[in-house]
């Protein structure tokens, strides 16, 4: 952990240089009220500020502004950006305040829930690049958002749903007012003229609800019929239409019962249930898909005009690009620099970096380590290997079997039963009392109407998804929840899923004479030396030291290691061969440690000081702290767990042994992963695939349900049905499965309860005991019961 830094005359402690810089900036801009506000609003999460230091010059490009900016009538431009690092309301104060105080910015509003800021500015007075840089400098890196057609459609859908619900609710409440009078009139007597007035007004009020608000249910029912499926919307539509028709008939005739209040209330409740589900779906989707809607990254193109940031989509084969350490290679290319160290964990699963030399092929998606590289683009966009893997994923997704929800099956039986009963009621009553026949049949259709069903399932799913989202698990749609619930076989990827995905020090062995403080100094010295040498393994050492000791001399020995003088002592860090040349003897303890580490697939790195071998450090991809517990939980849930990875078999089997997984396979290509999934599916297993690399994408889409980490490769996120935020780690997997199972259990309970109500209601209707009052009471009663249970989902 980096040691905290201290400012001489200030009371604060900073966790890192980034936070200190931001604090300084806020002080000078007189925006330090932020800290007071943050504490006053009771926000507990203090996250280190991350400044990306990117250049945002390409934001001023007219082409860019045309694509991402929305011109307004008064000459202003509206841009929406996703901001990194937004985590509280105080952030919204800070961002909005800072933006609004710039001349030229007319409007700024940050939606904390979505981390999206909407800025309206006048291009004549201020530059977008300056605005973006200002945001970045205080730790909120902006990513411009395109209003892609998917997001716009969802917003339109919500707007329409809100409108339908509002109208239905308004109609319901007004009709209810009249209905009270009518019920009172049944008891105390009412003038026929007034009664007729109330009926006609109720009819008029019910029209918008029945014709407009309930339209989605009619559409669903008709679409279902056309495809030969008995969708749940069918009995709902039948109930609504029957109730309305009967009531209209009664109004026209001037006698009989009217059910306008029940009908409109039914519609309003159903729509409310839909809204709950839609909001939950959108919330979960936002977390994952905001990142997908991000503007394509800018890449640095080197040309005769110099170094310029351009959009990824503008790169052509033959262009020369520069990629900085830590960045992802954007296109397939050929290496133009002398050497390069790349991590291809996303593509192959190997956490250790590989070295490439000039002329070697470099794939899009690899991460550059340590030194800047230049590449010459050979394939861009759809033709990169990355894109071809994505295409493979899409074809795999098409072959995935759609889940016939058991709800749809229930709907089938339900509809047939209700229609049969209604027909029976009609026939029987035609014999007994023809007048009542129609009312009773209609009454049956109304009370048998699955209001509870139509309400309970969306709310239960919505609650489950909301609960999951609060625990860092984002599930795409109710389909995702159902799939998760019936899983019986778990396939896990290794790198990034069970392990941390980066190279760290897993073990360290020192010669016995050294104290802990001394050991610490040795590691710092090794880190400092590696830092200077720029070797990729340095990144493992790099995370430790904050106060690096001074390196006075150093010499890199290619392929073997590095040696140099640190704080006056001579160190050598590298392979066993290198150390063997420089020391008199190799301590047996260190030798055994090194061999053991190598057997487990770790990379042993030797350290020698002043001619003595003093330590062996084993580097590898460390197992996540929760990995063992997560696997144990999965076993407790009676699930079969399997490890499938592209990394070397030695490493994979070692990880499997550590976590208690019986079946493990290494060196699996993306194609191999896909075929393993298909093999399992053919064996009727219900498979969930968990992975985050590009090499998992096809398997993720083919499996019954795919889980991916939020920090995963874009393609993997696209393929998955469930994202897990990075903070949760592997423990989220059993968590998600348990949540889904619980949701389905609650839905099943609700189905039984709804069925009970329907049976009682049907019995009452068939015996002619159901009047509008009974219907008006029975329906909300069943709905509320079911809702109260669904809310516990």
């Amino acid at each position: 952990m980096p040691a905290p830094r201290r400012i001489p005359d200030a009371p604060q402690l900073f966790c890192c240089g980034g936070c200190e810089a931001v604090w300084g900036i806020l002080q000078e801009c007189q925006l330090d009220d932020f800290y007071r506000l943050r504490d006053a609003l009771g926000e507990n999460r203090k996250v280190p500020a991350r400044v990306s230091g990117k250049s945002f010059d390409y934001f001023d490009d007219p082409e860019f502004l045309r694509r991402f900016g929305e011109p307004l009538a008064d000459g202003g431009l509206r841009v929406r950006c996703f901001l990194d690092g937004v985590h509280c309301i105080a952030c919204s104060w800070l961002v909005e305040k800072m933006l609004l105080e710039r001349t030229g910015v007319r409007y700024a509003a940050l939606d904390v829930g979505k981390s999206v800021v909407e800025i309206v500015f006048s291009p004549a007075e201020t530059k977008l690049s300056a605005v973006a840089t200002a945001l970045d400098r205080i730790g909120y890196t902006p990513h411009p958002l395109t209003e892609d057609s998917g997001a716009a459609a969802v917003r339109r859908e919500t707007r329409t749903l809100l409108a339908r619900l509002g109208i239905a609710a308004a109609c319901t409440m007004n009709i209810m007012l009249l209905a009270v009078s009518q019920y009172a009139g049944d008891v105390t007597g009412i003038e026929p003229g007034i009664a007729a007035l109330f009926r006609w007004v109720s009819l008029g009020l019910a029209l918008p609800a029945v014709l407009y608000s309930a339209f989605p249910y009619y559409r669903g029912a008709i679409n279902g019929l056309r495809r030969g499926l008995l969708h749940m919307d069918l009995p709902i539509s039948l109930g609504i239409v029957a109730a309305f028709a009967v009531s209209v008939f009664a109004t026209l005739q001037g006698r009989g019962e009217v059910y306008f209040d029940s009908v409109t209330m039914l519609i309003a409740l159903l729509l409310a249930g839909r809204l709950v589900l839609q909001r939950a779906t959108r919330w979960a989707a936002n977390a994952g898909e905001n990142l997908l809607a991000l503007a394509p990254r800018s890449v640095r193109r080197i040309s005769d005009l110099g170094e310029r940031d351009v959009l990824l989509s503008d790169v052509c084969p033959g262009d020369r690009l520069r990629v900085l350490p830590g960045e992802t290679v954007p296109v397939d290319g050929r290496l133009a620099s002398e050497t390069a160290w790349l991590t291809e964990a996303h593509l192959t699963g190997e956490a250790a970096a590989v070295m490439r030399t000039r002329g070697d092929a470099v794939d899009a998606g690899a991460v550059v380590e340590r030194s800047v590289i230049d590449i010459e683009a050979t394939a861009v966009g759809e033709t990169t290997r990355l894109a071809r893997l994505a295409a493979m994923m899409r074809t795999a997704a098409l072959r995935r079997a759609p889940l016939t929800t058991f709800l749809d099956r229930v709907a089938g039986y339900f509809v047939t039963a209700v229609l049969a009963l209604a027909a029976i009621t009609l026939l029987i009553w035609l014999k007994l009392d023809p007048d009542q026949a129609l009312w009773n049949a209609a009454a049956l259709l109304i009370v048998a109407c699955p209001c509870a069903l139509g309400l309970a399932t969306p709310v239960a799913f919505g609650m489950a998804m909301g609960r999951a989202a609060r625990r860092g698990i984002y599930i795409r749609g109710q389909d995702g929840v159902e799939r998760l619930a019936c899983v019986d076989h778990v396939v896990l990827d290794k790198t990034g899923t069970l392990t941390e995905g980066k190279l760290t020090i897993v073990e360290q062995t020192f010669v016995p004479e050294l104290a802990a403080a001394e050991q610490q100094k040795i590691l710092f010295a090794a880190a400092a030396l590696e830092n200077v040498g720029g070797h990729v393994i340095a990144s493992a050492f790099h995370t430790m030291a904050y106060e690096p000791p001074t390196v006075s001399a150093s010499r890199v020995l290619a392929g073997a290691g590095i040696e140099g003088t640190v704080d006056g002592r001579v160190y050598a860090v590298g392979s066993e061969l290198l150390i063997a040349e420089r020391v008199r003897r190799i301590p047996e303890q260190l030798a055994t440690a090194a061999t053991a580490a190598a057997a487990r697939g770790l990379t042993p790195v030797w350290i020698a000081r002043d001619g003595n071998a003093i330590a062996v450090v084993a580097l590898g991809d460390r197992l996540h702290s929760e990995a063992q517990a997560a696997v144990r939980e999965l076993h407790d849930m009676k699930l079969t767990v399997e490890l499938l990875s592209g990394d070397q078999p030695r490493v994979v089997h070692s990880v499997a042994a550590q976590t208690g997984i019986e079946h493990s396979t290494g060196r699996a290509t993306p194609e191999a992963k896909l075929s393993r999934i298909e093999e399992l599916l053919a064996g009727k297993r219900r498979v969930v695939m968990v992975g985050d690399g590009v090499n998992d994408a096809a398997a993720l889409s083919r499996a019954m349900v795919g889980i991916s980490a939020a920090g995963a490769a874009e393609v993997a996120r696209d393929a998955a049905d469930v994202f897990v935020s990075a903070a949760r780690g592997p423990a989220a997997i059993p968590d998600a499965l348990k949540l889904a199972r619980r949701a389905l259990r609650i839905i099943r309970i609700n189905l039984w309860i709804a069925l009970a109500y329907n049976i009682v209601g049907a019995a009452l209707a068939m015996t002619g005991l159901v009047g509008p009052l009974v219907a008006a009471v029975l329906m909300p009663l069943s709905s509320i019961t079911v809702l109260l249970i669904a809310v516990r989902a």
Binding site: A21, G24, I25, E28, C29, Q30, L31, D33, L37, L41, I89, S92, W93, E96, K97, M98, E101, R102, T103, A109, L110, D111, V112, G113, K114, A130, T133, A134, R137, I138, R155, T158, R159, L162, A163, G166, I167, A170, N174, E191, I194, L197, V201, L205
Partner: protein
């Protein structure tokens, strides 16, 4: 009781007007973000005379190491 012929239409007209307001609010996406506006009300918005140029200030800080 004939007053009902006046009251009923009046009440319905009022309801209708409110529904129109609601539809306008739905159409202008006012229901999208229900959390931030509530909290935003509580912020002080004392106008500041100066126009802090964060970019310039940050650049200054980078150039003069502290």
């Amino acid at each position: 009781m004939n007053i009902i012929f006046l009251l009923l239409p009046a009440a319905l007209l009022l309801a209708f007007i409110f529904v129109l307001f609601y539809l306008w609010a739905a159409r202008t996406d006012q229901f999208e973000d229900l959390d931030s506006p509530a909290r935003r009300m509580l912020f002080d918005t004392a106008p500041r005379p100066s126009d802090p140029d964060v970019t310039a200030i940050a650049a200054d800080r980078e150039n003069s190491p502290s």
